[in-house]
C-alpha cells in the first residue's frame, strides 16, 4: 500500500467532522486522491478503501459511477466536452471533431506526448452559455473553433 501525501491526509482530517461516518467521506477522498495522483488506479482504490476502512467494492462502485474520476491516466490538459442536448444543438459535435483533428487523437484518447486528452462529459450545468468545454478545472463557455484554437495554442 502506497500511502497518501500530506495534502490528502490534511484534507481528510479537516473534513472529517462534517461527515457522519468514514464511508460518507468517499467522494471527497476520491477527489483528493485524484488531485494527488492524477487518476484513480486500481491500487489507489485499494488505498482509499484502507484509509476509510471500507470494502474496496464500495470505492470501485463510486469511482466507476462518476465520469469525473479518471480510471486511466489523462493528459496534462483534459478537454472535457459536454455533448448533451444544449451544447449539441449549439455545435459541440463540430468542436469535438475539430479538437480531434488538431490533436490527432480520437475521443477518449490521450496524445502520445501526454499533453492532451479529449473526453465527453454529461451536462456541465451551464446550458445558458453552451457549448461548454471544461479544461481541467476551468469552464470555457460560448466556446467556438477560434477560441479552441487559441487555447490549444496557449497550452502547448
Amino acid at each position: 500500500m502506497a500511502s497518501f501525501g500530506k495534502e490528502f491526509t490534511t484534507e481528510m482530517e479537516r473534513i472529517e467532522r462534517f461527515y457522519p461516518n468514514k464511508q460518507a467521506m468517499l467522494l471527497p477522498a476520491l477527489h483528493a486522491a485524484q488531485a494527488e495522483r492524477g487518476w484513480i488506479s486500481d491500487s489507489t482504490m485499494q488505498d482509499i478503501a484502507d484509509y476509510l476502512s471500507i470494502p474496496k467494492t464500495r470505492v470501485k462502485e463510486v469511482a466507476t459511477f462518476y465520469h469525473m474520476f479518471h480510471l486511466k491516466p489523462v493528459g496534462k490538459y483534459n478537454l472535457q466536452f459536454c455533448n448533451n442536448i444544449a451544447c449539441w444543438l449549439r455545435g459541440s459535435e463540430e468542436l469535438i471533431h475539430h479538437a480531434e483533428k488538431k490533436c490527432g487523437i480520437q475521443m477518449g484518447e490521450t496524445t502520445p506526448d501526454g499533453n492532451f486528452t479529449i473526453s465527453e462529459v454529461e451536462c456541465l450545468g451551464s446550458c445558458g452559455t453552451a457549448p461548454v468545454c471544461q479544461i481541467n478545472d476551468d469552464y470555457h463557455e460560448n466556446f467556438d473553433v477560434q477560441a479552441l484554437d487559441k487555447v490549444l495554442g496557449e497550452m502547448k
Binding site: 486500481d42 470494502p55 474496496k56 467494492t57 464500495r58 470501485k60 462502485e61 466507476t64 459511477f65
Partner: protein, 471 residues
C-alpha cells in the same frame, strides 16, 4: 391490532411492517424484484408500486410501512400501467433466451411478464450485451439476463459477509460483477442462485440437468451438520437434482451453505453398495434379502456381546428400532468434527457447525456413548450403522472380530466387514433429527430407496428374531 385494506380485503399488521409483506398475508402477492425478505430494502426496481387512497403518487410497497386504516389498491389502471412500464423497460435489453435459460419456469421476469406485462416489445434496437466473468465453482453468471436488482450484492454483503460483488459503471452500462473479476470466496455462494430473481445467477451443479417443471419436491432436513437447515429436495424419477433452503426463521432463515446444498451426490454414486453383500469368503457375493437376513442371523447367533457404532445421522425412529432389536447391546455414536455434542460450536457467522452430523444430540439423548469409548475388540460382533452422509472411520471394521454394516456403504469402504445390508440415506427416508438447538425436526422421504436398499426398520424387523436370542 391496526389494519390496512388491500384491494378491499382487511389485513392486520404489526407496526413497522411493510405493505408488501402484509398484502402477501392476504394472498395478494405484489410483484417485486429488488425486495427480498432476508435482505435490506433498497426500493430501486419500482416493480411493487401501489396506489394508496389519498396519496397523489404511487408508492413502493416494499418500503412503505403500513399505517392504520390505509387503503391500498394494487389493481388500478395507474398501477397496471406503471408495472407494465417497468416490465417493458426491464425487457428492453433482455435476451429473451428462455428456451435455453435454466431459470425458465421459476423466473420472476417470466411470471411477471405473463401477469403484468405487455404482449409485445417496442424495442427495435441492438440489445446490450456483456462478457461474463467466472464466479468460481458454485455459480454461473449470465450478465445479459441481469435486471440490476442488486439482490446478489446485498446477499454477499449482508448474508455471506463478503464484499465481493459490485455494480460497476452506471445506467445502461451497469455491470453486476465480482470485484476485479475474482471468483467468489464464500461458503454460501449457492444462495446467489436463490436470491437472483432471473437466470443471471444459476448454480453450475444444477445447470442444464432438468427443466424445473418436471421436478417434484419434498420437505427435508440437511444432514450436513448439526444446524439441521430446513431444505427442499427436488427430484424426478427417483433421482435427486438439487437441494434448496426452505424458510425456517428459528433455524436457517432463508439460507443454507454450499456444502449442504451440493451434499447429495453420494446418494446416486455408482460406487454405492446397492444390494446385500456377503463378504465372509474372499469372493464378494450379492444376496437377495432372505439370504441376507439368514446370513445376518447366523452372525448374530454366535455373538455373546454386540456393540453398535452408529453414525449420528440415524433418525430418532431408527434409534428406537435399533434399541428394540438389540436390547442387550452397547451403543456408541459417531460424528465428524466432535466426539460429544458439548464440543459442538458455530464455525462461521451464519450457519455452519463443527459437528458434521445432524442427530448427535438425538443419539446422546437415547443413551449412546461417545465414539472415544468404543473399542471394537470388546465385542464378539460389531454392527456399523451408516445412515446418511457421515462416513465411519475408514477401516474400523478390520478391528472387529466380526461385523455387519447396515446403511449406506461405498465399495471402497468394505474392508473388514463380513456382511453389508444396504439401507436408506437421509433423502430416501422419513424421520426426525434433533439439531444443535435441541429442536426436533421431522422430514419426509424424497425419493425411493436406491437399488435394493431398504429402510433400516424393515431390515431390523426381518432379523429381530435372531437378535433377541442373543445374550
Amino acid at each position: 391490532m391496526p389494519n390496512i385494506v388491500v384491494d378491499g380485503v382487511q389485513v392486520e399488521f404489526k407496526p413497522g411492517e411493510k405493505i408488501i409483506d402484509v398484502a402477501a398475508r392476504a394472498k395478494n402477492v405484489i410483484p417485486r424484484y429488488c425486495y427480498h425478505e432476508g435482505l435490506s430494502i433498497v426500493a430501486q426496481c419500482r416493480m411493487c408500486l401501489v396506489e394508496i387512497e389519498g396519496q397523489k403518487k404511487l408508492v413502493t410497497a416494499c418500503s412503505t410501512p403500513c399505517t392504520d386504516g390505509m387503503k391500498v389498491n394494487t389493481t388500478t389502471d395507474r398501477v397496471k400501467k406503471s408495472v407494465a412500464g417497468v416490465q417493458e423497460f426491464l425487457l428492453a435489453n433482455h435476451p429473451l433466451d428462455c428456451p435455453i435459460c435454466d431459470q425458465a419456469g421459476e423466473c420472476s421476469l417470466q411470471e411477471n411478464s405473463y401477469k403484468h406485462g405487455n404482449e409485445d416489445t417496442r424495442f427495435d434496437f441492438f440489445r446490450r450485451t456483456y462478457i461474463d466473468v467466472d464466479m468460481g465453482p458454485s455459480i454461473k453468471k449470465n450478465m445479459n439476463r441481469c435486471i440490476h436488482c442488486t439482490r446478489c450484492i446485498r446477499y454477499c454483503d449482508e448474508v455471506g459477509q463478503i464484499h465481493e460483488m459490485i455494480a460497476e459503471q452506471r445506467g445502461n452500462n451497469t455491470a453486476i460483477v465480482t470485484i476485479d473479476d475474482k471468483p467468489l470466496q464464500t461458503a454460501y455462494a449457492g444462495g446467489l442462485a436463490d436470491v437472483c430473481p432471473v437466470g443471471s445467477l444459476t448454480t453450475k451443479d444444477f445447470r442444464f440437468k432438468k427443466r424445473v417443471w418436471y421436478l417434484k419436491t419434498a420437505a427435508s432436513i440437511c444432514d450436513g451438520c448439526s444446524q439441521g437447515c430446513n431444505i427442499t429436495v427436488s427430484h424426478d424419477a427417483g433421482l435427486i437434482y438439487r437441494l434448496e433452503p426452505r424458510e425456517n426463521q428459528e433455524v436457517n432463515k432463508w439460507w443454507m451453505c454450499d456444502e449442504g446444498r451440493y451434499g447429495f451426490h453420494h446418494v446416486h454414486s455408482p460406487s454405492r453398495v446397492m444390494s446385500p453383500t456377503d463378504l465372509r469368503t474372499s469372493e464378494m457375493k450379492s444376496l437377495n434379502w432372505s439370504e441376507a437376513s439368514n446370513a445376518a442371523r447366523e452372525l448374530l447367533k454366535s455373538a455373546r456381546s454386540i456393540g453398535l457404532l452408529v453414525a449420528a445421522d440415524a433418525t430418532l425412529e431408527e434409534v428406537v428400532a435399533l434399541k428394540k432389536s438389540f436390547p442387550q447391546a452397547e451403543f456408541f455414536s459417531f460424528s465428524i468434527g466432535v466426539d460429544k455434542s458439548e464440543d459442538d460450536k458455530a464455525t462461521d457467522h451464519l450457519l455452519r457447525r463443527k459437528d458434521k452430523s445432524p442427530n448427535l444430540r438425538g443419539l446422546e439423548e437415547a443413551g449412546f456413548k461417545p465414539f472415544s469409548s468404543f473399542d471394537p475388540k470388546n465385542f464378539d460382533l460389531c454392527v456399523f450403522v451408516s445412515a446418511g452422509k457421515v462416513r465411519l472411520p475408514y477401516g474400523i471394521a478390520k478391528l472387529a472380530k466380526k461385523s455387519i454394516g447396515m446403511g449406506l456403504f461405498f465399495k471402497e469402504e468394505l474392508t473388514g466387514l463380513n456382511l453389508v445390508l444396504p439401507a436408506c440415506s437421509t433423502y430416501e427416508k422419513a424421520g426426525t433429527f434433533v439439531n444443535q438447538q435441541g429442536k426436533k425436526q421431522c422430514f419426509a422421504a424424497a425419493v425411493q430407496p436406491v437399488g435394493m436398499s431398504r429402510p433400516l426398520e424393515n431390515i431390523l424387523s426381518a432379523l429381530s428374531d435372531g437378535a433377541r436370542k442373543v445374550g
